[in-house]
């Protein structure tokens, strides 16, 4: 448990070098902060023969202003750097807030935003090495009448009932961010909405990242820069915890009415869930008690709770209401 298996460690200084290693070693594992990876290795659930530490690649790190009033955030930028960056706080305060609420200070000091969005699910059965669907087996241990599934999914279960554990992911989807991926010789741009994939597309992955791919960074467009933003995370503990449900909303108001809104909920589905019903409902309306009542009715529509996670439905509804209420001030 405590000592990790033997592996080679590579610390390339360029993307080309990293790609060469990834091409050479078929099961090479990309590591940056290592906050999630090392736990996998210590539990001996994953045992890659080589690690590629990409934190030495300068171009993957840092925050820069974009042409359209948005920001470029390198994949190995730490969560602390994201949370404390002046430009992020100024333009996308909910991204700074979400980054500051991830786990604990020590995790944020090394953990990267690239790792936060591409981390694997927290399903206890999967993590403990159960041969479940996601691990390549043919059963789900979390979706049985007696299984511990209070942290699991409300939507789009397809054999697997795991949820996205990330706090920054729903924010990036709400801000319509674009993930930049190095795939072979090409740089591929993937909208954050499409970056996260559910078990119906590939049950063994949480993102579109394939073996050999390197997440270069995240481009947050200026679309929602300076808008009213709201992020809230509901978790069992205030520190070092994954969300039970979190919500991210960006909205613009004019003359007391909501003119545009983007609302995304995390930890209720395998991917961040866009609350399109709420978005279409609130645009053109004035925030207030009437609207909140309607939002509460549609926010968690279609949810299909498991045995022990029925509390997530009202939690989701209330978080959506609180997000809309924040517009009334």
């Amino acid at each position: 448990m405590d000592v990790m298996h033997n592996f080679e460690l590579y610390q390339p200084g360029s993307i080309a070098d990293a790609q060469a290693i990834l091409a050479d070693v078929k099961d090479a594992w990309i590591i940056a902060g290592g906050k999630d990876s090392l736990d996998w290795f210590k539990e001996r659930v994953k045992q890659p023969s080589a690690l590629v530490d990409i934190t030495g690649i300068a171009e993957l790190h840092g925050i820069a202003a974009g042409d359209d009033g948005g920001l470029w955030i390198g994949a190995t930028t730490t969560l602390t750097e994201v949370a404390e960056d002046g430009a992020v706080r100024d333009k996308f305060p909910m991204l700074a807030k979400a980054a500051s609420l991830v786990a604990s200070p020590q995790i944020r000091h090394l953990g990267t935003i690239g790792g936060n969005v591409s981390q694997d699910t927290r399903c206890l059965y999967y993590r403990d090495g159960f041969p479940c669907y996601r691990a390549g087996g043919n059963t789900c241990y979390a979706n049985t009448p007696t299984a511990m599934n209070r942290e699991h999914t409300l939507y789009e279960a397809s054999r697997c009932v795991a949820v996205t554990p990330s706090d920054t992911a729903p924010v990036l989807v709400a801000l319509e961010a674009v993930m930049l991926i190095q795939r072979g010789g090409a740089k591929v741009e993937v909208a954050a909405d499409d970056f996260f994939i559910g078990p119906d597309i590939d049950i063994t992955r949480m993102t579109v990242l394939q073996r050999g791919d390197i997440l270069l960074g995240i481009r947050v467009p200026g679309t929602w820069a300076g808008s009213h933003q709201y992020f809230e995370k509901a978790a069992d503990r205030a520190s070092w915890d994954f969300p039970l449900v979190n919500i991210a909303m960006a909205a613009r108001t004019e003359g007391g009415k909501i003119t545009a809104a983007s609302m995304v909920c995390g930890a209720v589905q395998c991917t961040p869930r866009r609350l399109s019903d709420v978005e279409s409902l609130i645009v053109g309306e004035a925030p207030g008690a009437d609207l909140e009542g309607l939002v509460k009715r549609v926010a968690a529509r279609g949810a299909r709770p498991l045995t022990f996670n029925q509390f997530k439905k009202p939690l989701m509804e209330n978080l959506a209401v609180r997000a809309v209420r924040s517009l009334a001030v």
Partner: protein
């Protein structure tokens, strides 16, 4: 088969009917010569040899698995801990906590959960607190590392945080204390006059099983007054 059986040297006398009377004076002479070794000394011997066996398995397994690849990291590295630069031989899969404790002998840093949750292994890397149990040593080899041993002055004068923790009776069992000290010092280094909320946030990555959080927070606030 008399006298032959599972020999328990911790007892000091042979088991079973192993004592026979010999000698003109009729004195009882044991068949097995008792070991002139205390129980404690014997146990220590067993523990040490066990460490050697387990430790060498750990060390040499890595050496045999290493492939001759110029691009992989070199095992020998220079690590600057508490202002002193050490040259140490570190396999790629070794965590900073392991290196600090078992290669450099700085056992003030504790290993609690060993999975980046409890904060007992908390050290400063470049002024930032990190969980050393979940950080590869090779990942931080170019950085300035400060452990709890590097907090007090070289003449032994305690850091205000350490003195305040003593004055406020912060530690109970004390296992989380090194990590708490490092977190508190890291906070005061960048924010000498924190609010209690800022202090709470700075210590939020350290678990205290005794639940002495309020004592630690009072300690941080007291130390902030004295810094």
């Amino acid at each position: 088969m008399d006298g032959i059986g599972p020999f328990d040297p911790t007892v000091g006398y042979p088991p079973g009917p192993a004592i026979r009377e010999i000698g003109p004076d009729g004195s009882k002479i044991p068949l097995w010569k008792p070991l002139h070794m205390s129980r404690r000394a014997f146990l220590r011997g067993v523990v040490c040899s066990g460490t050697v066996i387990a430790g060498s398995a750990y060390l040499f397994s890595t050496a045999t698995a290493a492939r001759a690849d110029a691009r992989a990291v070199e095992r020998m590295l220079r690590l600057t801990v508490n202002g002193r630069t050490h040259t140490v031989d570190v396999p790629p899969n070794e965590t900073l906590a392991f290196t600090i404790r078992y290669r450099l002998g700085l056992t003030g840093t504790k290993i609690g959960c060993n999975s980046a949750e409890c904060g007992a292994c908390n050290v400063m890397v470049g002024g930032m607190t990190v969980y050393s149990c979940s950080t590869l040593t090779h990942r931080v080899r170019d950085k300035e590392i400060t452990t709890v041993e590097g907090i007090a002055r070289p003449d032994g004068t305690l850091h205000p945080v350490q003195q305040a923790f003593i004055d406020e009776l912060a530690p109970q069992c004390g296992f989380c204390t090194p990590g708490m000290v490092v977190s508190a010092v890291a906070l005061l280094n960048v924010n000498p006059k924190p609010t209690i909320e800022e202090a709470r946030l700075a210590l939020s990555g350290n678990l205290c099983r005794c639940g002495a959080y309020d004592h630690y927070l009072r300690g941080v606030m007291t130390a902030a007054e004295r810094v």
